[in-house]
Subunit: 191 residues, 2 copies
DNA sequence: TCATAAGACGGACTGTAGTCCGCTAAAGAC
DNA sequence: GTCTTTAGCGGACTACAGTCCGTCTTATGA
């Protein structure tokens, strides 16, 4: 376990350039119409730099989502109830699902990229673990007889970006998804 | 709506060759270590032929899964209860989840391929619609006050191949997944 | 049996993700 | 300021998915 050295100046500069370029191109042309070559070019760096930094396409998407997700994470960990601590478990679960759906809906394309990666990228990234731990604790508190760890995965499954996107394209509106998921959660965790 | 012409002889021969080659290579080397070039070569046909037939990698996986899925579909539509008609809705839901998890577990890699396709391939293919309609009807019968259509999607979400794979790799055994999902279904659709 | 058109064939071609490695620049020691 | 170490750089390279289109095969019906 050595000391993690501080980020080198050129590395930091390039990291910010890439993120900026990615954000700009994604907004301009739509997430899936932008190649990593294009991002590297726009950022004025080599392709290798992008990949060394972010690993792959999914990693870049994760990095872009990070800020937004951290906002929600902060509210959950230390914000006011019902998202933050203080409210009864069931209420906190509802609040989380609602907030996550808002976030997801605002950034579907990016979430799809971040979850795709052909392997189970979604389940390996830090934020998924955080959401999972959060739900798992609340479920454990509300219904100790359930397998909380697994049930948390079940509650997160309908938040998959692919499904969300498919349903929205089918004409579902956000309210319907929220209401439906609330109803499921209510059945699962009766007050 | 013109008559669909019968499949041409060479087309049929090549289709079978490709499926056979794909199955052989997938078993030999593992699904994700096989390129479509390799399958085309093994089958002794051109690459274009593979793509014209199956559209893309996901389409080929779907075709290979088709037979197995049709078996389950037949049991659901006209087999004996509890999978087939006759048993109470809740019981049929349980039976379905159980049977699907068995199928999924036996062919995870193939399912992952068939569901990936970078867009929401899973939600567009015929068999998903069938599972969805089935669950939707049963939910409607058991809990008419729920949004059956959406709730069916929610119940199918934890059956995503990616998640299944990730949990199995985390050390979950199949029984735990089955039990956990049964418990969720029980809460959702009380007898 | 032959002519013809519908359709399938196959491989060259394009675009993209991701890897590799020789080169360059930053940071710290003196 | 210069030397040395170490991390970072970048673009050529590989491999694969998916497209395109000129050529060839099959089915049909006269």
């Amino acid at each position: 376990m050595g000391e993690p050295r501080p980020e080198r100046a050129d590395a930091r500069r390039n990291r910010l350039r890439v993120l900026e370029a990615a954000e700009r191109l994604f907004t301009e042309r739509g997430v899936k119409n932008v190649s990593l070559d294009a991002i590297a070019a726009e950022a004025g760096v080599g392709k290798g730099t992008v990949f060394r930094r972010f690993g792959d396409r999914a990693g870049l998407a994760v990095a872009l989502l990070d800020e937004r997700e951290q906002e929600l994470q902060a509210k959950i960990i230390s914000g006011p109830p019902p998202l933050g601590p203080g409210a009864p478990p069931v209420v906190r679960v509802m609040a989380f699902l609602d907030a996550y759906l808002d976030l997801l809906d605002r950034h579907v394309a990016l979430f799809m990229d971040s979850e795709n990666a052909s392997d189970g990228a979604r389940y390996r990234i830090g934020s998924y673990h955080l959401w999972h731990r959060h739900l798992s604790h609340l479920i454990e508190a509300a219904r100790p007889e359930l397998d909380a760890d697994y049930t948390a995965h079940v509650l997160l499954a309908p938040l998959a970006a692919d499904l969300h996107n498919a349903l929205r394209e089918q004409g579902y509106d956000l309210t319907r998804l929220k209401t439906g998921l609330q109803a499921v959660a209510t059945s699962l965790l009766p007050a």
